[in-house]
Amino acid sequence: MSRPVRTATYAGAGVTGLFLAAALISFFWTPHDIGALNIGERLQPPSPAYWLGTDPLGRDVLSILMAGARVSIAVAFFALGIGMGIGVPLGLAAGAYTGPTDEAVMRFSDLVFAFPALILAIIIAAVFGAGAYTVVIAVGVFNIPVFARLTRGASLPLWKTGFVLAARSAGKSRARIAVEHILPNIAAVLVVQGTIQFSLAILAEAGLSYVGLGVQPPNASWGRMLAESQTLAAAAPWLAVFPGLAIFLFVFGLNLLGESVRRRFDLGSQRALL
């Protein structure tokens, strides 16, 4: 690994780890209690007592940010889980069984793609009410075709390689070959797309919560914090800046990490020559 790559890896792992740690710590400790209102201390700018200032209800912004990280990351994690858990097997099946299976998976993907995640979220919210689950399902469903298409596309050329042909003439079923031979060899691509989709899910959660379809008060999330800061952005800019910065840094850290994971996994680029 060259030096800039190593630096990027450490930076990515450091930033991501920091946010994950903050989210975990928030389960049993935050600098201030986020449930307790303290109207006397409302809209304090950042100070030694309140590192990132306070909101209109006098709650500590750092504490809300930590608790919000928990929600944002959990939502992104489960949304990604739905997307990969359903999309990858579908894509593998489409690559393995050409013909009707392939057509069915691809047309289903087109259908979901044609349907904006926002509209889907509105529909789910209308039926089940707004909340974290709405966001998880809406973003998760949107992720299914992303992974289905990527998996299919990455696996198709592998079906023509010698080792897959050899496995077929060793009598292995297509399903087994897909799991044994195809999946490990496209894992790198999936991991990279996973980090990208994870960051997009964080952004989607922020967006959906911002328009009120996501996490409801008193639960905190980064998107909610941004939404609530809107009317006060001029008077109390720290309310908007810190959640925004948190989203930006976390997404950036994830992308750095994803890229270095890809480099580690990627046998292809090492042996492209010779």
Binding site: T161, G162, F163, L165, A166, A167, R168, S169, A170, G171, K172, H181, P184, N185, L267, Q270, R271, A272, L273, L274
Partner: protein
């Protein structure tokens, strides 16, 4: 004799791995210099370094003098101006070097249009002149054809036309004929020679086979482990060859007589009747009528126990499709397959399991044949799946060891990754994988084509040994009749999807019936003669 390109002490490393270790080489105008070496010796990299086509992690040291300039010091923009115009290259695989969506005249015309200010008509006119020069006169062969409508040799002629379009001073040809059958190979090399002499071009001909260039080269440079060990006029090299040097750089041209199994033991392990395979010809869909192209047409053949049947044909003749169809990797349009006298229904899983139990296949490319994430043990033991019973870990290990040892590898190789092995060793691993379930027939689809001569000869003699020691039959597919002669006791000649002639090896060589076979045999024998001449120093 003017030296056009003077390479002095060229060193190259990629990712800190030394590839070239002091290559010094001179090319002269109007002369053909053959750069001969085994695979991995750095011969292609010498050409890529000269063209400035190296990966970013490459470090180059040394001097490359061309027209009083040192190419090693040029920036990428200056290098780009030289590439194609003054130095051009011909690659091994002509299909991938051509744009499949453009007619050949347009592809050649494009070279003129990008480098010279010409009208489209003038450029096309020049393209026609060039096609005429490479033996594809527009009057006899329409220049409006697409690459897929051409044979391998014709495609390579188009590539040569494009390489020579701008009258370069240097042409580097990297194994330009390896994918072609022997008679086409001969024509292409002679064409290259005459064009280079006419245009006073310095041609560098990269090859792993000394015999191929024995006739046409003026100078021969031998490269080994990234270092030129000798560059000398051909006669000097020939003298050394006659004293026994460089035998590893010569093809398997020695015909070892292959034993035919005694008549009493003859029973067909595989019989194929009227087998056809079809591909859809055009984009088929809702609005197109499905048109089919028959890659294999009514092929019938039988392989008997213990024999080696060779199938020879040029690339695109359908022999690989046939091989794949035989193991269920291509669907059949028509025909019947019988194993040990019992018919196989290719659509029935149990029948296919029975087929794979008896027939295993080894593919051409030793690099893509293995899952890069598996160990040799995992790779070799894969077909054990077919035995239908779960073996204990110890039993698996024993069978892997046995299979590896039967191909001349060692038990301790099992734990390694396939990356640790050379091309020849990889083909042994592929053979071990095929052998592990003791099949009665192994299909070898161009299994030695990617290997250099020394590795190829070792694999071929291993195959002959296995036939005797294990009684396994072989179906050996190759474009190279000379290689087949060394392993097969019977030969089937394939052309345009059909088997045009079948016979015992010696019969095919002594009395070829079909015109095409006659051409192939003549070319193979000319090569053998060229090699003999080289050996006896009579050039």
């Amino acid at each position: 004799m003017t030296i056009v390109l003077d390479i002095q002490d060229l060193r190259l490393s990629i990712d800190n791995r030394s590839i070239l270790d002091g290559v010094s080489l001179a090319l002269s105008a109007g002369k053909i210099t053959a750069l001969v070496g085994r695979s991995g010796s750095g011969k292609s990299m010498t050409a890529f370094a000269t063209m400035g086509l190296l990966p970013r992690s490459a470090r180059v040291n040394g001097d490359l003098f061309f027209e009083k300039r040192n190419l090693a010091l040029l920036n990428d923009a200056d290098m780009s101006a030289l590439r194609g115009a003054s130095i051009s290259m011909i690659f091994q695989e002509p299909m991938t070097a051509l744009n499949p969506l453009q007619t050949i005249e347009n592809q050649i015309a494009e070279v003129f249009l990008t480098h010279q200010s010409l009208t489209a008509d003038d450029a096309r006119g020049k393209a026609h002149d060039l096609l005429e020069r490479v033996g594809m006169a527009p009057s006899t062969l329409s220049p409006e054809r697409y690459p897929h409508e051409l044979s391998g040799g014709q495609r390579q002629r188009v590539i040569i036309a494009m390489a020579l379009a701008l009258k370069p001073s240097i042409v580097m040809a990297d194994e330009p004929t390896t994918a072609l059958d022997a008679s086409t190979q001969r024509d292409i090399l002679e064409l290259l020679k005459s064009l280079c002499v006419d245009d006073n071009i310095a041609l560098m001909l990269i090859t792993h086979d000394l015999a191929v260039v024995a006739d046409i080269a003026d100078d021969i440079a031998v490269i080994q482990k990234g270092r030129i060990i000798e560059q000398a006029p051909k006669t000097d090299i020939a003298k050394k060859v006659s004293e026994g040097a460089y035998s590893e750089l010569m093809g398997a041209r020695q015909a070892t007589p292959q034993t035919t199994p005694p008549r009493s033991q003859r029973r067909p392990v595989l019989r194929v009747s009227d087998l056809s395979c079809a591909y859809p010809k055009h984009a088929s869909g809702l609005y197109f009528k499905k048109e089919r192209f028959l890659a294999v047409k009514d092929v019938s053949l039988a392989v008997e126990a213990g024999e080696c049947l060779g199938i020879v044909g040029e690339s695109g003749s359908g022999k690989s499709t046939l091989a794949r169809a035989l193991v269920g990797l291509e669907s059949l349009a028509a025909g019947e397959i019988e194993i040990d006298g019992a018919s196989v229904n290719v659509k029935r899983k149990t029948d296919m399991l029975r087929l794979w139990r008896q027939i295993q296949i080894v593919f051409q490319d030793p690099y893509s044949s293995f899952n890069p994430r598996h160990t040799v043990a995992q790779i070799v033991s894969e077909p054990l799946h077919l035995l239908g019973q779960t073996l204990t870990a110890a039993a698996r290990r024993e069978r892997v060891t046995d299979a590896l040892e039967s191909v001349g590898l060692k038990a301790e190789h099992a734990a390694r990754s396939p990356d640790a092995f050379s091309g020849g060793q990889r083909q042994r691993i592929a053979l071990a994988r095929a052998l592990i379930i003791n099949p009665s027939l192994i299909i070898l689809d161009e299994a030695t084509s990617a290997l250099d001569s020394a590795a190829r000869n070792r694999v071929l003699s291993l195959l002959s040994d296995l036939r005797v020691s294990r009684g396994v039959s072989l179906l050996f597919i190759s474009h190279d009749l000379a290689v087949i002669r060394g392993v097969a006791n019977r030969i089937a000649v394939m052309k345009s999807g059909e088997i045009i002639e079948t016979g015992a090896t010696e019969e095919i060589f002594s009395h070829p019936r079909h015109d095409y076979t006659r051409k192939l045999v003549a070319a193979a024998e000319e090569l053998a003669a060229a090699l003999d001449n080289l050996r006896s120093g009579a050039l």
